[in-house]
Symmetry: C2
Subunit: 244 residues, 2 copies
DNA sequence: CGGAGCTTTGACCGGCGTCAATGAGAGTGG
DNA sequence: CCACTCTCATTGACGCCGGTCAAAGCTCCG
């Protein structure tokens, strides 16, 4: 019955009651699937859909006038997307599928009702938003101050961390479904330079690659050149309103 | 009585009832002032304070091992800071004062109670968070894909927009209380190159400077080289729960 | 008058973008 | 099984943007 994986996702942070799980599952209003490369939501459109990633890799991005692209965020299983529609009549960025992906729609009105009926869940959503924001600031720091090598290193570590968090298998290497051009669009580099940079990371023994399988050999040393700090997430349970 | 300016700030988005204004003002728990250059909150500290900027320019930033700095956000009157403390036991970034500044503290427990007592205000805070997030993504795109000239141009436009929104006078030029080093830390450049870049922007007639007064002469042309898009903010009132 | 902080300018160099060519697979149709 | 095509990875040559280092003005303040 759990079409949405919101309950599963929020359950990582806090223990949920059965009623709360039902409430979260009740937000769902159908699901959709997309093929690799498909556009889920266009930029400047008025599509205010809110949804949750069920499977696959989804990304949001901005296009510049000259055709270049900057990927703003990656989204994995459990991530809540499209919330910007609550504050902007036009989509500030576009959303697409990096792999075949499935999402399930969230009914906007029911999400609003959640604030009345389940204040604890609303507060939890509010707190979880902060995690997304901090991820964004970490990427901002990387783009602002890291060299190409550091940017790619930071990206790989962030991806590994987020996959681990989404319970995707990472331990000894993982499939990286990104072209070098997409890595460039994530890091603000060109595809050519991504290629050179990843070769250097291999030669220096930080990572190994074969096909699209990637393995991080020295997370600590990689973290140093990426200016990456591991962050503990722990939502203060005392702050949340009482269970319902 | 309105020590906090939260009510004023949120009132920009939605009409508030008197009771709601009282509730927002009641979140306040004292205020503090800081001198230009003072540190409001250190990185990796366990200071979980939440507060609102009352006056002055405040910024959050990250320090790298080698001493370089990346400024992540600027905060103006009405901005809510320190929410990351709800999800992270250690501050993910530091906060400082760019000018003399005054902030007022928000009582964390009362903020939690707001979710129970005033679901509409909680939903409004949730929606307003999206505005902050989109501001961050705009900066990310600028750092990822703009040249030095574009990055500085984008920064100046963003600052002007946010000052306008905070009802600070901007019309014909405004005082920019930032050193070129700080502009560099905002844009991911060095102070030296910021200097060269701003000279070019002057010579090309986009801006004029005298002292720290800055005037934007051609917002439209500047927006083009900054890949800047003006965004309308409009919180969907139908989505919010009923007034209380 | 002197010092501290900031701005401005020059010389030099390296990292990363650009352009272009080649290789390597995967899929498609004959 | 073999062209053919399309996408993506790889590599080299070359040039420019922006970093680095250093020195000199400018302003404010003691």
């Amino acid at each position: 019955m759990a079409e949405s994986c919101l309950a599963e996702h929020l359950g990582h942070y806090v223990e949920l009651t059965a009623r709360e799980r039902d409430a979260l599952d009740g937000l769902t209003a159908g699901s959709r699937t997309y093929r690799r490369g498909a556009i889920v939501r266009a930029e400047h459109g008025s599509n205010g859909d809110i949804f949750v990633v069920v499977s696959g890799w989804v990304y949001s991005f901005a296009l510049l006038e000259d055709g270049r692209r900057q990927i703003v965020r990656l989204h994995f299983r459990g991530d809540l997307l499209g919330l910007d529609g609550l504050a902007f009549p036009e989509s500030p960025d576009a959303i697409g599928a990096l792999t075949d992906a499935e999402v399930c729609l969230i009914d906007r009105a029911r999400l609003g009702a959640l604030f009345t009926d389940h204040p604890r869940l609303a507060a939890l959503l509010f707190a979880v938003q902060q995690v997304d924001r901090v991820n964004l600031t970490d990427r901002l720091v990387s783009l602002g101050r890291n060299s190409a090598r550091g940017r790619v290193a930071a990206l790989l570590l962030q991806i590994a961390n987020r996959m681990r968090f989404a319970n995707l298998p990472v331990s000894d290497g993982f499939a990286l479904p990104l072209t070098q051009e997409e890595i460039g669009d994530l890091t603000g580099l060109t595809a050519v330079h991504v290629n050179r940079t990843m070769r250097v990371l291999s030669e220096q023994g930080f990572i190994t690659r074969s096909g699209n399988m990637l393995r991080i050999l020295h997370p600590d040393r990689l973290a140093r050149i990426a200016n990456h700090s591991r962050r503990n997430v722990a939502i203060d349970p005392a702050w949340l309103p009482n269970r319902s």
